[in-house]
Symmetry: C2
Subunit: 234 residues, 2 copies
């Protein structure tokens, strides 16, 4: 481990920690470490038991899973937020693995400390509820997206989401590699390539990871975005 953590104010400001007693926050941070990881480091392996609650301060982390030689990305974690909270709280094995996508700065809080403070700090317990409810709803949306849509529809809606996130600009860059985007969307890289072409009639053009969408060509009519699937919040 690199070094013990000072009381990172950005961590304290996280919804999860902002309401809790100062002494409890101090107790958590006393045992915590901050580390810088290079890209492509496996932080967590599914099946192992939860030693640390992770908080990402900068960079990005891929949550993925494997079975029988296959692998799929489930979600991407971005600053500032926690991950694998559910495994930590339940003291259960991780269901997903995690790896850094880029150089990332990550806080590690021993799981037993988290559980101990959870038992005594009521505001912390309530904050965890909010956090977990949010993550639960996020993955319900992921499941609906997978089961109700074809890969072309998933890509179209993903692009509309990204466009929204870019402030509705007609052009934006993909936030990560196409191979991982394909995995997140539940398809192969080859199929993603073809899906991009399949959206050309709807005004989507691609060069490298730069996307331009002519919104008047009917992509919204094709994608039929639905807040109950596509809204990142709520």
């Amino acid at each position: 481990m690199d070094m013990p953590s000072p009381d990172y104010p950005e961590v304290r400001r996280l919804h999860l920690f902002s309401g809790m007693a100062g002494e409890h926050y101090g107790a958590l941070m006393r045992g915590a470490y901050v580390q810088n990881f290079p890209p492509q480091i496996e932080l967590i392996t599914e099946g192992e038991t939860s030693d640390f609650l992770h908080i990402i301060l900068s960079g990005s982390v891929d949550l993925f899973s494997s079975w029988n030689g296959r692998e799929t990305s489930i979600a991407t974690v971005r600053p500032i937020s926690t991950f694998i909270l559910a495994a930590t709280i339940r003291d259960a094995p991780y269901l997903m693995s995690a790896r850094t996508l880029e150089k990332s700065r990550i806080v590690l809080i021993p799981s037993q400390d988290v559980r101990a403070v959870f038992e005594v700090d009521n505001e912390f317990a309530r904050a965890i509820v909010t956090e977990l409810a949010q993550r639960y709803r996020a993955i319900v949306k992921i499941t609906k997206n997978l089961k109700l849509r074809t890969s072309l529809e998933r890509l179209a809606n993903y692009l509309l989401q990204q466009r929204e996130q870019a402030g509705g600009a007609s052009a934006f860059d993909l936030e990560f590699e196409k191979r991982r985007l394909a995995s997140l969307l539940g398809m192969t890289p080859e199929n993603l390539s073809r899906a991009f072409k399949g959206l050309r009639p709807y005004g989507v053009s691609v060069k490298g990871n730069h996307i331009v969408i002519d919104i008047d060509k009917g992509i919204e009519r094709f994608a039929k975005p639905d807040p109950l699937i596509d809204d990142p919040d709520s």
Copy 2:
């Protein structure tokens, strides 16, 4: 509504309620109702805001979702447990619809009461964390199952799960209609029919909803069950 609820002891015994203060439990139950529903009643429609936390006492409930004229079952809820807890806590729109599969007895607790008690009862808040963490992990497993396996593999693992639940007996009955099983497993009814046949070489035989598995014919070697996907708990 039928009638105000007496203090159902089986509800009180639920992990969610067992640790909370008696007065708070009373407060929740004062506003609660118990109702008997016939089969195929839509209890909840996705997109609406959460009015009641639901607790199923008997029968079974299907959680499903629709988009663009398509529909899929996401999970089945059985006694005694709550559903749509996350929407209630977040005061957010339901992400899934719910309908009774059979005659079902259900407790309805006004969501605002749940949220009010959540704010003042610390043990209740902690119990909700456990409950949510469990549900979160359950749906992560559903997602992994969908993304990492073919439909034949999903069916094989489902059958092994059911077999386990039947105490490892070589024969058992399917717990629900094949059309809904198909939807849960993410396939069409026609494909499910063919999938059953596809498992015949592995010792699976089907008559109506009665299943017999000759475990020596290698279905486990084919299914490769994995606790990180197939264990209902943990």
